[in-house]
């Protein structure tokens, strides 16, 4: 017994198999494990076993957005919140969380303007701050307000708060979006997530008591503050809140002109900023497909799904008409598709997006309404069926939108692929400008020989994963 036990507990050469049957199994084991064990492990088992993994290998780049060393426990979060994180498979804070959280949860409360790449844990960062500030003994007294630019994003944030807070007793999170707050009762939750217009209405109608709000979060802040209507609403909402409210502004992008305004909106804020060359997530392999002409884009699109393993995917298009046509073609090819654009009503949009979130459909075709913020962790491919453009007559490429679009994949350090379709001079030049601006190497794909293209795609995915500065981290949401 003792003999056997000792053999078992010794993690020697062959994993587990040698204990019971030393001779044959050990031989087999070595066969399988040759590369590592043979030279080092044959003699002194224990010493060779002490070879430590070179951690510098893993975490050489301290500036990686996902690099971090501390744990959530070290941040001093209450146990129910920590349990909620563990249940979500969150194990360690990301860079933005590790850096911003101590600043945000310290007292006295200080404003924050934080920028971090897509899929690096911004939402969790401000949600944790909100949860740490809410007094759960007053479950129906609004204490935190979070604003987002679309109902989808507001509902998503609501979901994240509920998930991380699932072990917090008495946590009530309400969504202040059209059609969800009862006119009779008004807002009865300690945390309120909403779109600016609806929130304004509720406050004006005195159905939302803001007298005890402690914290205001604005997600996708550059977008919110920059847009004509929404920017005004944000300003007005702020004017109605207590002066002491802590203001947090978050986004992956903060163009300079918006930054000045943001500083006025959130005075004396701590700031975490990035240069625009640092903005793209290294884990996303960015490629483009050279289409002979526009009419062939449909067929090429369908072919892409055989080239690599794809979980869910998002296809961005310019017009509702092409969204509908692509949907038809892809469904004929066996895909389950949600097509979501401005033509749909709120509730209907919710249902379509829920299908996609829950995995009932795995392809989402959308116009720009969903370029920002939407987080479905299994999205492994983003397609720019049309290059994002802005300005009069679409004359210049839309840099920010490109970044937000491709940021729908590669969440939390996962592998992601983005493929942009070009078919004429204009689309080619627009994409080139984007590539120059962000300093990215776009890989060209061609639809002529699919065997070759498949090989190329596989190589690109592999090499992007192996890139030295690609250091994903433990956050998965």
């Amino acid at each position: 017994m003792a003999d056997l036990a000792s053999r078992i507990s010794k993690p020697s050469d062959a994993p587990a198999d040698d204990g019971a049957a030393p001779a044959p199994a050990a031989a087999d084991g070595n066969g399988a494990e040759k590369p590592v064990d043979e030279g080092t492990n044959s003699g002194l088992v224990e010493t060779s076993y002490d070879v430590e993994v070179k951690l510098s290998d893993l975490q050489a780049d301290q500036d990686s957005p996902l690099y971090s060393v501390s744990s959530f426990e070290e941040l001093g979060l209450p146990k129910p919140i920590n349990d909620g994180l563990l249940a979500m498979n969150f194990k360690k804070p990301s860079k933005i969380q590790e850096r911003a959280l101590p600043l945000m949860i310290s007292n006295p409360p200080t404003n924050m303007i934080a920028q971090s790449q897509s899929g690096t844990g911004k939402t969790a960062a401000f949600v944790l701050t909100v949860l740490s500030r809410v007094d759960l003994t007053k479950p129906t007294q609004p204490q935190a307000l979070l604003l987002a630019p679309s109902r989808e994003l507001a509902r998503q944030i609501q979901g994240v708060i509920q998930t991380i807070g699932k072990f917090c007793e008495n946590l009530i999170v309400e969504a202040a979006i059209p059609g969800s707050i009862s006119r009779e009762t008004g807002v009865k939750g300690s945390v309120v997530v909403g779109t600016p217009g609806t929130v304004m209405d509720l406050i004006r109608r005195r159905q939302f008591d803001v007298s005890q709000l402690k914290i205001l979060v604005i997600d996708e802040a550059d977008n919110m503050l920059d847009q004509q209507g929404m920017g005004d609403q944000c300003v007005r909402v702020k004017g109605l809140l207590p002066r002491t409210v802590q203001i947090l502004l978050f986004s992956a992008t903060f163009p300079d002109k918006v930054m000045n305004f943001a500083r006025k909106y959130a005075p004396n804020a701590n700031e975490i900023k990035l240069r625009h060359q640092e903005l793209t997530v290294k884990g996303i392999s960015q490629m483009y497909m050279d289409c002979p002409d526009e009419s062939q884009k449909y067929d090429i699109l369908c072919k892409l799904y055989g080239l690599m393993t794809i979980g869910s995917s998002v296809i961005f298009v310019k017009t509702r008409e092409s969204a509908t046509e692509i949907q038809r073609r892809m469904e004929a090819d066996g895909h389950k598709v949600s097509a979501l654009h401005g033509a749909h009503e709120g509730q209907n949009r919710d249902a379509l997006l829920d299908d996609f979130r829950s995995g009932r459909s795995k392809v989402l075709i959308t116009t720009n309404v969903l370029a920002r913020g939407i987080d479905v962790s299994s999205v492994s491919m983003v397609i720019n069926y049309d290059i994002p453009m802005k300005g009069f007559g679409d004359k210049e490429p839309d840099m920010e939108t490109y970044l937000h679009r491709i940021g729908r994949t590669g969440r939390f350090g996962r592998v992601g692929v983005s493929i942009s379709f070009v078919y004429d001079r204009k689309s080619f030049e627009a994409l080139s400008q984007i590539a120059n601006y962000y300093d990215i190497d776009l890989v060209q794909l061609s639809p002529d020989d699919w065997d070759m293209t498949e090989k190329k795609v596989q190589e690109v995915i592999k090499s992007s994963r192996a890139r030295p500065d690609y250091a994903p981290n433990p956050l998965g949401n």
């Binding site: 198999d17 019971a20 044959p24 199994a25 590592v36 699932k166 799904y305 995995g359």
Partner: protein, 535 residues
């Protein structure tokens, strides 16, 4: 009564007068008070009376019959219910006995567990089966001699410390079968019978053989894995000289990958993935027909044990088209890749892939000599997720990581999060494949639930000092979302196993890392969300 005799007036009219005569005429007629007429009327009234009575009697008889039928039906139902309850009771009791017996038996034996043992015990009554169990197991272990993988597997339920691991392992692996046995003896529940049925034929034919090797020589999987790489090269070479093959092979490969990627969560809706499933069948059948004239190849290179022809099998020939074996390989690869890339982020997406894998690899056309080619998939699993097969290692050492299946890219270890994502996806994928119910299927389950039990046992029986985060992550992914299926198969024994996995196992871990804690949090989530109390 009046209502039921509407014919009176009419019959009279009919008999005596023409239909056209009016009532008035009748009243005014001469023979109105004649005796004949009186008699006639009496006669008519009597006939009518009889008719009514007969009708009533007939209805009455019918009613009686109906009631009798209903009574019989109720009685039968009641009886069935009683039998069902009794069966359940018997099964539960058997399971309970099993548990008790097991606990007592833990200390003594040091032999190697043998999952194949259980089937042999099938016929036994529940209680005796329990005590008997260990015995067959041991003998099996003895014959098998080297039972390496099993060694890691230790007592599932037992609270005993690490040292006894191997001994208990025995008990553990066989255990799953116990409920089945007991049920069997009672002519059991569909569920279990079927499962046992799946196992029994195997025992008779070829399964036991492959089974043993699984435990005995885990590295056969590594060999298969190598052979599969050769196969890939072999196909590429063939394609150079065979334009028909070259023209079709890439398209077929991409079609398979696409179809596997299109599988979506069904949430109980049937037929959601039918198109994809049929497409995969179609491609594999096309490959079997070998229109592209690929060379033939001996499938023995890709299975655990040599196989002999089996009567009634669709394919008994010594070689199959290499394109078919290649596509099975591609299919397995696509499934594993889907687990890693998609289920790592969202474990629930593993389920439809598991269903598709098992449905495909159990399809009679795609069996070789009567047995599934699932070994090809398992060989990949063995390489990418060794902890399922009993391998252990220290995450802080090079060799330990290697043993745990920590991937390297361009000579560097992949980051921790990526590794843990992979393990999450693979753990969920393993559960999705091994916890399938074949009760309603004519096909044989290529990877029955006892494999799930055995894999869990191998992890939870790890000595405390050797518990790794990788194991915790795999274990959590195996359990989360599958607790209900597991309990459906193993009843109270499953609950006990879950307690071991989610309460005792993390409690034993020397370092309370996030991965370890997340097992305990899962136990709490189960309690909160499903009411399942383990602690």
């Amino acid at each position: 009564m009046t209502g039921s005799s509407p014919s009176r007036g009419q019959s009279y009219h009919w008999a005596t007068t023409s239909p056209q005569r009016t009532v008035l005429e009748e009243i005014l007629s001469d023979d109105r008070n004649s005796e004949a007429r009186h008699r006639f009327l009496l006669e008519a009234a009597k006939r009518e009376h009889e008719r009514v009575r007969e009708e009533a009697e007939r209805v009455y008889r019918e009613q009686l019959q109906k009631e009798e039928r209903q009574r019989l039906l109720d009685a039968r139902r009641k009886e069935e219910e009683r039998i069902r309850l009794e069966e359940e009771l018997a099964a539960d009791r058997a399971r309970l006995n099993a548990l008790k017996a097991k606990k007592i038996e833990i200390p003594p034996p040091l032999p190697e567990p043998e999952p194949s043992a259980p089937p042999t015990v099938n016929g036994k009554a529940s209680a005796p089966a329990l005590s008997e169990k260990p015995a067959p197991v041991q003998s099996n272990g003895a014959t098998a001699k080297s039972v390496p993988a099993s060694k890691p597997s230790a007592p599932p339920i037992p609270s005993p410390p690490q040292s006894q691991a191997p001994a208990t392992a025995l008990n553990k692996a066989p255990e799953p079968e116990k409920p089945a046995n007991s049920v069997l003896s009672v002519n059991g529940l569909v569920n279990r019978t079927s499962r046992v049925a799946g196992a029994t034929p195997d025992a008779g034919t070829s399964l036991p053989v492959p089974q043993q090797p699984i435990q005995a020589r885990p590295d056969r999987y590594a060999e298969i894995h190598k052979n599969l790489k050769m196969l890939r090269k072999f196909m590429a070479d063939q394609a150079k000289t065979n334009p028909a093959l070259k023209g079709r092979m890439g398209d077929m490969r991409r079609e398979i990958r696409k179809s596997v990627g299109q599988l979506t969560v069904t949430q109980g809706v049937a037929g959601v993935n039918k198109v994809q499933q049929q497409n995969i069948f179609k491609l594999l059948r096309e490959a079997l027909s070998n229109q592209v004239q690929s060379q033939l190849m001996d499938p023995s290179n890709f299975v655990l044990e040599p196989r002999n022809p089996v009567e009634g099998a669709a394919h008994n020939e010594p070689a199959l088209p290499s394109i078919f074996l290649y596509l099975i390989n591609i299919f397995a690869k696509a499934a594993i890749s889907q687990f890693i890339n998609e289920s790592g982020a969202r474990p629930e997406t593993a389920d439809p892939v598991g269903v598709c894998v098992v449905a495909t690899l159990s399809e009679p056309d795609f069996l070789w000599r009567g047995v599934s080619l699932i070994d090809i998939l398992l060989a990949k699993f063995r390489i990418v997720c060794p902890v399922l097969f009993g391998y252990r290692g220290n995450e802080k050492t090079e060799q330990g990581r290697q043993r745990l299946g920590w991937w390297k890219d361009s000579g560097r270890w992949v980051p921790e999060q990526q590794h843990m994502d992979r393990m999450t996806g693979l753990g969920a994928g393993f559960a999705a494949i091994s916890l399938r119910n074949f009760a309603m299927s004519k096909k044989t389950n290529p990877y029955p639930p006892r494999e799930y039990w055995a894999a869990m046992a191998r992890i939870v029986n790890t000595p405390a000092a050797e518990i790794s985060n990788t194991q915790c992550v795999v274990l959590k992914a195996m359990v989360e979302g599958y607790e209900q299926k597991f309990i459906e198969f193993y009843g109270t024994a499953a609950v006990e196993a879950l307690r071991t996995a989610l309460i005792e196992f993390p409690a034993r871990a020397p370092q309370k890392s996030a991965a370890v804690n997340s097992l305990e949090v899962l136990a709490r989530s189960l309690k909160r969300d499903t009411g399942l109390v383990l602690g």
